[in-house]
Symmetry: C2
Subunit: 220 residues, 2 copies
Amino acid sequence: MNREIVLRLSKYRRLLQKLKIIGLEKVFSNNLGDALGVTPALVRKDFSHLKITGNKRGGYIIDDLIASINLILCKNHPLEIIVVGCGKIGTALMQHRGLAEDGIKVAAGFDIKPEKISKNSEIPILGIEELDSFIKNRQIKVGVISVPESMATSVFEKMVSAGITGFLNFSPVELKFNKDSQLFDNSNSCFINNINLAVEIENLFYYVNSRDKEEKQASN
Amino acid sequence: MNREIVLRLSKYRRLLQKLKIIGLEKVFSNNLGDALGVTPALVRKDFSHLKITGNKRGGYIIDDLIASINLILCKNHPLEIIVVGCGKIGTALMQHRGLAEDGIKVAAGFDIKPEKISKNSEIPILGIEELDSFIKNRQIKVGVISVPESMATSVFEKMVSAGITGFLNFSPVELKFNKDSQLFDNSNSCFINNINLAVEIENLFYYVNSRDKEEKQASN
């Protein structure tokens, strides 16, 4: 399944759980489409991947949909991650309520600065020298990188060699998996999601400004 | 231009500025492609939008590329944003060095909690009741939403009616622009980038786990 479908499944699951809490038992594709801003046809197509079909009169059974999506998204297993770089962004992420609410547990944070280390906090913050053994012992597969630019590549390489294969990268470096590098010979591939906040904001300015230009030209 | 091209232009610009600082004057499409993990052909195609062509021997002139991209990305104007919701994520973003380094200035933060208000700090934090007049007076066009789920929609509507048209949304609500709603009759459209951190992490788990499953099946 491609990334777009998987992201939508995550979003459907959230919505369905909210609807269930409110007391609903069934839902129509157009309700879900409205809430997510997509067409009902796309919702039905996505659900056909789950091999669940609704019926025109009653719609989809919410419990069945949730169970199927959980199975696909592996939500029945604990989702343990680590956060490397406990600056502002890293700490915000570690304490982000949204993660815990979604069953995602931050197993530990890692930092290079001795004053940040706190082994006994609710989410322990460990020194970077413990990164390799922690990942291996706990079999962590997914990690967040929130270190400064100058450290991003070396942290990434350390994490790959310890066994991390899924990366959410907030550093300004565009991390990528180089199949030809000897560094990566133990691993088939990695999944890297680079989120550069400055780039995302610049992108919004581009659209906002191009619309303003168009409007000015139209009114001349 | 579509979102993917605009995002890449932002990334080329960053790279080019770094190369310039190092002392380079020219660059080849394959160098930029390597750094970004895209093909040289795609780099050349992107640059053809800038109406700048390189030559096979010397490559592209870095200064020319930077100037053209700056013009397209409106980087010659100040990029002022506001951040609504000064919790962990909002505060991390306000203090994120990466933004200032890229010429993006947080004009103010807004929060509903009186204890968060600090009008005289470097980046002032104001009460939500000042949101409307601030946006209008300063003609702010781009805003970040980092409020809890229950407040996201009402904050979004307030920002739209004050004139914000570009949104970076970290709340777990999938915000969308409803053309048919009377609420939006003053505005042609909005650009909304929803970043749900829990969904992004779930997405990584999906890929990591599906690869593990494939490997287990292959070894059976």
